[in-house]
């Protein structure tokens, strides 16, 4: 093993920083879309219409049963090519569709955790369904969801690394290129690992802050 070469990290830093931004962008877009998708799926799952319930359950079953990489291949080779999406857009589609299945379960668990009695009580008070959701159910459900939601978000952040396989130069893809071109895989891959650890640690810390903020004040 040769000695550790700091200068190579210094030289590659600008490229790695830009690539880390691509990862963060992928993550942010996918998180927003997956949350929206998960919310719709959760509502469908709780709907009085049977077909909507089945459709949502089937979606979750299929997309939780498939490797994220396979879903990304679908998004890139099939959806992306037929709709003329850029690799970045296909990556966001694939990651959101995959993460949406997990988010749906987390959001549904949160919504179910709010007692039935509250639905009945708000009905007795004559609240509309939208009002009930917005003012009574969601604020309470959010508190229950935070731990699972956030640890799932951390998984999503790490899954953005798969986007390198469909030609997006995010952090992992860039690290691999640089490792090959500089012949310094140890330094480059370690540097990428440190960036990921920093990002996931930020998420873990914000999870704790959110949990504290949403804790019941008793």
């Amino acid at each position: 093993m040769g000695s550790w070469d700091w200068s190579i990290i210094q030289r590659c830093w600008p490229l790695m920083r830009d690539a880390a931004w691509v990862s963060i962008n992928l993550f942010a877009w996918s998180l927003v879309l997956a949350t929206g998708l998960g919310f719709v799926l959760a509502l469908m799952r709780m709907s009085p219409i049977r077909y909507l319930r089945w459709l949502s359950a089937l979606y979750v079953l299929i997309f939780r049963g498939l490797p994220a990489l396979v879903i990304l291949f679908f998004a890139y080779f099939w959806v992306g090519r037929s709709l003329n999406l850029s690799p970045f857009q296909s990556g966001v589609v694939g990651l959101s569709v995959a993460a949406g299945a997990y988010k749906a379960e987390i959001i549904r668990a949160g919504l179910l955790a709010v007692g039935r009695g509250q639905y009945e009580a708000s009905e007795a008070l004559g609240l509309s369904r939208a009002h009930l959701m917005r003012r009574i159910i969601i604020p309470q459900a959010v508190r229950v969801m935070i731990p699972n939601y956030m640890s799932n978000a951390t998984l999503l952040l790490k899954s953005t690394s798969l986007a390198s396989v469909i030609g997006i130069t995010e952090l992992t893809g860039r690290a691999r290129q640089l490792a090959n071109s500089t012949y310094k895989p140890i330094e480059i891959l370690t540097a990428a690992g440190v960036i990921y650890l920093a990002l996931t640690t930020v998420l873990t810390v914000s999870q704790e802050i959110l949990e504290r903020r949403f804790r019941l004040k008793t």
């Binding site: 990489l69 396979v70 291949f73 090519r81 690394s161 798969l162 895989p185 891959l189 690992g193 996931t200």
Partner: protein, 218 residues
């Protein structure tokens, strides 16, 4: 796109089936052993062991699996010649250590779920610590460990698909090759998805069966 072509691709992709299964089984075995050791270290009375185990868990749960696989494949041989693995074993090393970080949490949560009072009772009965672990703690903790343990195992099975990126000819790589050679996209991907769904469904059934076996008989 036709059902016939999908059927045609199933046997071609199934040529990688045994490699997927072998990747999965080896990783499952190694990660269970390593996860058990990490869990014991985590609850040990020796501070340094607790600390090392916590650090390993934080490291490998904070870094994407793909980066860990690159590390195993590209960086380990640079550290020492004896760490040069062929792609298959590099993938097993990466998958095992990654899974172990999650399995240690599943195993640990099972162990600490056993009430402390039982330890005191076993001491009062004159049991040795090993006897207490083997006869009292482990039988009870298995019941609690099974669901998250199998959940992690299913994840590992899906993530064996990443071995394709370091050129292990498992199912995902074979499907990827068909895409670039036959210019067909939907058919190989649907065949691949079908096989993965069968595999994950089988594992889910194993989980349900095990949960039934380990359920408390009251």
């Amino acid at each position: 796109m036709s059902i016939d072509t999908i059927q045609e691709y199933v046997p071609i992709i199934l040529k990688g089936f045994w490699i997927t299964v072998r990747l999965f089984l080896w990783s499952l075995i190694f990660s269970t052993v390593a996860g058990f050791i990490l869990a014991l270290m985590r609850i040990s009375s020796v501070a340094i062991l607790r600390w090392i185990s916590g650090l390993i868990g934080w490291l490998f749960r904070g870094i994407p699996l793909l980066l860990i696989l690159f590390y195993a494949f590209f960086a380990l041989p640079e550290i020492s010649r004896s760490l040069m693995f062929d792609p298959f074993w590099a993938a097993v090393v990466g998958l095992s250590i990654w899974t172990a970080a999650y399995q240690s949490e599943a195993i640990r949560s099972g162990i600490i779920a056993v009430e402390k009072g039982q330890f005191e009772a076993s001491e009062a009965l004159g049991m040795t610590k090993r006897h207490y672990m083997r006869r009292i703690v482990i039988p009870q903790s298995i019941r609690i460990t099974v669901p998250p343990f199998i959940g992690n195992a299913i994840n590992t099975m899906k993530q064996t698909s990443l071995a394709a990126v370091i050129t292990v000819p498992e199912m995902t790589l074979l499907a990827r090759q068909i895409i670039s050679e036959d210019f067909k996209v939907a058919e190989p991907l649907l065949a691949l998805a079908f096989i993965y769904l069968v595999l994950t469904t089988l594992l889910l059934m194993v989980q349900l069966g095990l949960e039934r076996i380990f359920r408390l008989k009251v």
